[in-house]
């Protein structure tokens, strides 16, 4: 049994959620649907852990679908780079699935709950597939699977607030534009190289020299994925989609969806076009990305400061955090990319924790959480409030939390390649983010309403997953070796692709 599993790990992590999503879809019993989904995401995480061990001593696992060798068939590749986002998606996927049950029964029509779980697993399968595949067109297929199911999940928030329909529609249109741009780029590349395999493309592109089709293809692919990753001026769909989606969906999407897209940006610019780095990729593009990232840092933070609705506030802050991650990539040095990988992991932990505690407050009070309705809630819900404070301080970058580690490495990398002005800007925007964090903590704890203290009973199935995330936030803030080492290994592996 074991050798069979070990041999097929790269495909098992994709088809486990995929096949379970089809089984879950036809179930009538909502409880059973949840149990099966949890089982599926648990299996996926177990397989991912096996895969981590495999990768740590093999460093590169390649899997041929249907036994067709790469330039013809589809190849899945797991290496030290892709294992990081796979780990993020499967861990957050499991925690969010455990967390989801109460919310889905409350927020979604009873008849639709099992179909919601089906879409949920399909999103997870799509996201993991996006990371594992080494075929440019197969990547497009998974892009469509994950974003279409995510759109449907966002629109399911319409029972609580009908604005979810508009949010889902915007996400659909912009996501479709992004995916189309990507596939136009892939088509152009296929036209000039005759191959879709990423490794094969990387070998064939340098021979083409300054080919206009390749330049256009690169631009289309990058733009398409930047829409999906919500890099600053292309982030319009994000705040509403996160704010009006059903609560667990906000958690899952905020923690994983944009991270995976950022990983694809890295893959496109370093793996596919890395071999002809000087001609196509970064030297010009990286300054565009750098300034967009700086704009994102400030625009996201300032929007968050003036926002009243807390879920939307967190979504705006996500835009700013994506700015930090893109900033690391745009430095185009090994420490820069390592720092953006570190922040990729840490931000997934931070945002999952923040969204989980905020939607938990919404669940207990049955109200939409905005700056006014949170007044005094901190004293009524001590456990949730505790988790919220830890994650919020982590977002601001307080020492002993994961946020500090990522800010530290980002500032170090920025100082090494750009001098003092860039770390200064990073620090200013971090300081600005304290304003909205303090606004929330003040409302939750120090509000006048908190004088009459009546505790709401907190449910263990909601606060246990939340505490796990909070624990991870502190644990990796103190013992960050695992994340840092793996991020540096990944960034060195990426940089070695550039000749």
């Amino acid at each position: 049994m074991m050798p069979f599993i070990i041999k097929n790990l790269p495909i098992l992590i994709v088809i486990t959620p995929l096949m379970f999503s089809l089984i879950v879809a036809v179930l009538n019993n909502n409880r059973l649907a949840w149990t099966l989904s949890t089982f599926a995401s648990f299996l996926t995480m177990i397989f991912t852990i096996f895969l981590c061990f495999e990768v740590s001593y093999k460093s590169n696992i390649s899997y041929y679908l249907g036994n067709w060798p790469p330039p013809l068939g589809i190849e899945y590749v797991i290496d030290r780079i892709s294992i990081i986002p796979i780990m993020i998606v499967s861990v957050i996927g499991l925690i969010a699935t455990l967390f989801a049950h109460n919310f889905f029964t409350l927020e979604i029509d009873e008849k639709l709950v099992s179909k919601t779980y089906s879409l949920w697993l399909l999103t997870i399968a799509g996201l993991i597939g996006l990371i594992t595949t080494a075929d440019a067109f197969n990547l497009f297929v998974f892009l469509e699977i994950s974003s279409l199911s995510a759109v449907a999940l966002v629109a399911l928030g319409s029972k609580v607030d009908r604005k979810a329909l508009v949010a889902g529609y915007n996400y659909l249109i912009l996501g479709a534009v992004g995916a189309t741009f990507y596939v136009i780029g892939v088509g152009l590349l296929y036209g000039v190289t005759g191959t879709l395999n990423m490794g094969d493309l990387a070998q064939k592109i340098p021979a083409l020299g300054l080919n206009k089709s390749v330049i256009v293809a690169f631009t289309f692919m990058m733009l398409g994925i930047m829409v999906k990753a919500a890099v600053f001026p292309l982030h319009i769909w994000l705040p509403n989609a996160y704010a009006y989606a059903p609560s667990p969906v906000s958690v899952l999407l905020a923690a994983t969806a944009t991270k995976v897209s950022i990983y694809i940006i890295v893959r496109i610019s370093y793996t596919i076009f890395g071999s002809s780095y000087e001609i196509y990729s970064f030297e010009s593009l990286r300054y565009i990305l750098l300034y967009l990232a700086i704009l994102a840092m400030f625009a996201g933070t300032i929007m968050a400061i003036f926002e009243k609705d807390v879920k939307k506030l967190l979504a705006h802050s996500s835009v700013a955090q994506i700015g930090y991650i893109v900033l690391g990539i745009s430095l185009a040095t090994s420490p820069g990319i390592a720092s953006s990988f570190i922040h990729l992991i840490n931000h997934a932990l931070i945002k999952a924790g923040l969204f989980m505690s905020i939607v938990a407050m919404g669940y207990y009070t049955l109200k939409r959480i905005d700056v006014k309705t949170i007044a005094g809630l901190g004293r009524q819900l001590p456990i949730t409030f505790f988790s919220f404070v830890i994650c919020a301080l982590s977002l601001a970058g307080l020492p002993l939390t994961v946020g500090f580690i990522s800010k530290l490495y980002l500032i170090k990398a920025a100082y090494m390649s750009e001098g003092i002005w860039l770390p200064f800007l990073i620090l200013v925007s971090s300081a600005l983010s304290l304003i909205y964090i303090w606004k929330l903590i003040e409302g939750l704890w120090y509000s006048k309403k908190s004088l009459k203290i009546e505790k709401i009973r907190e449910l263990p199935e909601i606060y246990l997953p939340l505490l796990v995330i909070t624990f991870l936030n502190i644990y990796f803030g103190i013992d960050a070796g695992l994340i840092i080492d793996n991020s540096f290994i990944a960034s060195d592996a990426l940089m070695s692709g550039i000749r």
Binding site: F4, N8, I11, I15, M19, L22, A25, V26, G66, N67
Partner: protein, 143 residues
């Protein structure tokens, strides 16, 4: 619609359309055709029936629950045929092990997979038609 000619013609055409769909389906592995086209043709028979008689009548011959079940079943069949190969020791989606020779295995595999595709496409078409036909503006939609 209450037109005798249309009703009789639909009754006459219903089975030949499905038969033609099945022909396209099973022709698909060695000629033009296949699951996608066949699924749409078979669904066209049901949609024609619903348009000439009524959506309610069509729901008698293809209940929405069965429709949804078949929809998932088709996709499941596709994945499951891949898993059979995986259990018998080859990579996912490799059909060599299904038959006595490699060619026979591929033949069986593609036939089953195309059948799954046909089933899913047909039922997606029908369920799309149902959800648009049932859509009441301003009212809450129950299906």
């Amino acid at each position: 619609m209450d037109n005798l000619i249309l009703k009789v013609c639909t009754k006459v055409l219903f089975t030949p359309i499905i038969l033609f769909g099945l022909y396209v389906q099973f022709h698909g592995d060695f000629g033009p055709g296949g699951g996608f086209q066949a699924g749409v043709i078979v669904a066209a028979a049901f949609i024609l029936y619903a348009m000439v008689f009524s959506v309610e009548d069509c729901k008698v011959i293809m209940p929405p629950k069965l429709n949804f079940f078949l929809l998932a079943l088709g996709a499941f069949l596709y994945g499951f045929v891949g898993i059979i190969g995986l259990i018998l020791g080859d990579p996912y989606l490799s059909y060599d092990v299904l038959g006595t020779t490699k060619e026979a295995g591929q033949h069986i595999g593609i036939l089953l997979v195309e059948f799954g595709v046909g089933l899913t496409v047909c039922n997606v078409m029908i369920s799309l038609f149902y959800s648009f036909a049932n859509f009441n503006f301003g009212k809450k939609n129950n299906d």
